[in-house]
């Protein structure tokens, strides 16, 4: 067993099972080599690196994976709703998608970021996001497109998140209903909203996004697990 310290990009290329790499520029507590790949651990939980996403409405946004995870940035700001979306095909139902991200999000209207369902044929969205809408909020929102919010389906004040080191978000399609959950410990989830899986749209894609609205915004996705 070897213990090393360095950048994420500089993690050993030929490790042995049991090796540990402490990071100097990342978001994970450490990496543990399981014999086949590096496990990414944070606060006692095994996190899963995001898959390869495709863009929807990229605009001036960009992504980086230099430090691990996927960092999504739109430095320009948009002065209107412009969801910068990273999406992938949804798993077969029933499924859950659990994600954790680290937002760099100012308290200004209407900056959002979070997880979403998407219907590819229409471009419609259902988002579960953290953001600011007159107050810090968690919202479930219906969109006709990345630039056209339609209806606030549910809203919760976000102050209650303050005492967890990392909030986990979960999308679920059980084949009948589309559900939205969150968790303070990453293991036990509380449902926030549910609707029929064909209500307004039928999702065949899932993803994550930022909506920079009138301000620059950055967020880093550090965990994306489909089950």
């Amino acid at each position: 067993m070897a213990i090393t310290t360095g950048t994420y990009a500089g993690k050993p290329g030929a490790p042995s099972s049991g090796d540990i790499h402490f990071l100097t520029d990342s978001f994970y507590d450490l990496l543990y080599y399981n014999g086949a790949s590096w496990d990414h651990l944070r606060h006692g939980k095994l996190l899963t690196l995001p898959p390869s996403f495709a863009w929807i409405n990229q605009g001036t946004a960009s992504v980086s994976t230099t430090n691990g995870g996927e960092t999504l940035t739109d430095a320009a700001g948009a002065s209107a709703h412009q969801c910068r979306i990273r999406k992938t095909a949804a798993p077969s139902t029933p499924y859950t998608v659990t994600m954790a991200y680290l937002p760099t999000l100012r308290g200004a209207n209407y900056l959002f970021g979070g997880a979403l369902f998407r219907e590819s044929s229409s471009g419609k969205l259902r988002s579960l996001h953290l953001g600011f809408n007159a107050a810090g909020v968690i919202e479930v929102y219906a969109w006709n497109s990345p630039t056209a919010p339609v209806t606030q389906l549910a809203v919760f004040r976000s102050e209650v998140l303050f005492s967890s080191p990392l909030i986990f978000w979960r999308l679920e399609d059980d084949g009948t209903n589309r559900k939205f959950h969150f968790s303070g410990d990453g293991i036990n989830f509380i449902q926030l909203y549910s609707e029929g899986r064909t209500t307004g749209m039928t999702a065949n894609e899932v993803g994550w996004f930022i909506d920079p609205y009138s301000q620059a915004q950055t967020a880093t996705l550090i965990h994306w697990k489909e089950a």
Partner: protein, 276 residues
């Protein structure tokens, strides 16, 4: 020294001093063996995992417990009236100090809460078994006063029973706690005085409230508890207790918030700035 990884439930029962176990489904950064037990470390702080069997239910209702991941996760179902679901245990002889860390998961319901202090809460505190009275420090989402707006709050609350409407001995807005990975709670009982603290770093605590032991209680509390309260007809709530420690009374130190440190500011909105 051996390093291994896996689920919390599968941590090695045989281990040597210096061994490290990296959990994949728990709340602590890692476990380190001292030769006889696994030490649970979180952000450089040694936690003491709660032992669920030491607690008993008070007003359980439909609440349930999960311990598979190491801590004690309590889930409480919707309730159209106020209900504190408690896990309580006998308090030690005074003087004593209880320190705890909890991870709440309850939604901040905006617009669906009446002006009767509906909402959610969680925390730790004292119970007097003879009268059922409770006094606690914790977090909740609710209003300050009838008709008030609703906020995340750090509160000292007192209840004549787990189903009674509580009164706030202290209200403090909780937004200033956001930059700590976890907010630590502490209560002390000297035998004559009950005192309530919180901390942004787990080492240095700030006192927020104190009173004589019989100021609220008829005689004195004889139990300690942690709780999840639900007063919401539409959503369940959860809370995970990851640390429950009863060491010697601690010396309290006041920590001023600065850039780059964990804030332990008394979050009273107007009176303590985020930059000290």
């Amino acid at each position: 020294m051996a390093v291994s990884t896996g689920t919390y439930a599968n941590r090695p029962s045989s281990h040597s001093a210096g061994d490290i176990y990296l959990t994949t489904d728990s709340f602590w950064d890692y476990l380190v063996s001292n030769g006889s037990k696994w030490r649970h470390l979180y952000s450089g702080f040694e936690c003491e995992p709660p032992i669920n069997s030491e607690f008993s239910w008070v007003n359980q209702g439909g609440a349930s417990i999960i311990t598979a991941n190491g801590g004690v996760f309590m889930r409480a179902p919707v309730s159209s009236t106020g209900n504190l679901r408690l896990r309580a245990k006998t308090a030690p002889a005074t003087p004593y100090t209880l320190t705890a860390a909890i991870l709440p998961a309850f939604p901040g319901i905006e617009g669906s809460i009446s002006d009767t202090k509906n909402g959610f809460g969680c925390g730790i505190g004292f119970r007097e078994s003879g009268t059922g009275k409770l006094s606690m420090i914790g977090f909740r989402f609710g209003g300050i006063g009838v008709g008030a707006l609703f906020y995340g709050l750090l509160d000292v609350m007192q209840f004549s029973s787990p189903t009674a409407t509580g009164t706030s001995a202290l209200n403090a807005y909780a937004e200033t706690l956001v930059s700590s990975p976890i907010t630590w709670l502490k209560v002390t009982n000297t035998g004559t005085t009950l005192t309530y603290f919180f901390s942004g770093d787990g080492q240095n605590f700030q006192q927020v409230y104190t009173e004589d032991v019989d100021a609220y209680f008829t005689t004195a509390p004889d139990e300690l508890f942690f709780t999840l309260s639900v007063f919401c007809a539409t959503h369940d709530a959860g809370v995970t207790l990851i640390h429950w420690s009863l060491p010697n009374p601690a010396v309290t130190m006041r920590t001023f918030g600065m850039f780059g440190v964990l804030p332990s500011l008394k979050p009273t909105g107007n009176y303590f700035g985020a930059f000290g």
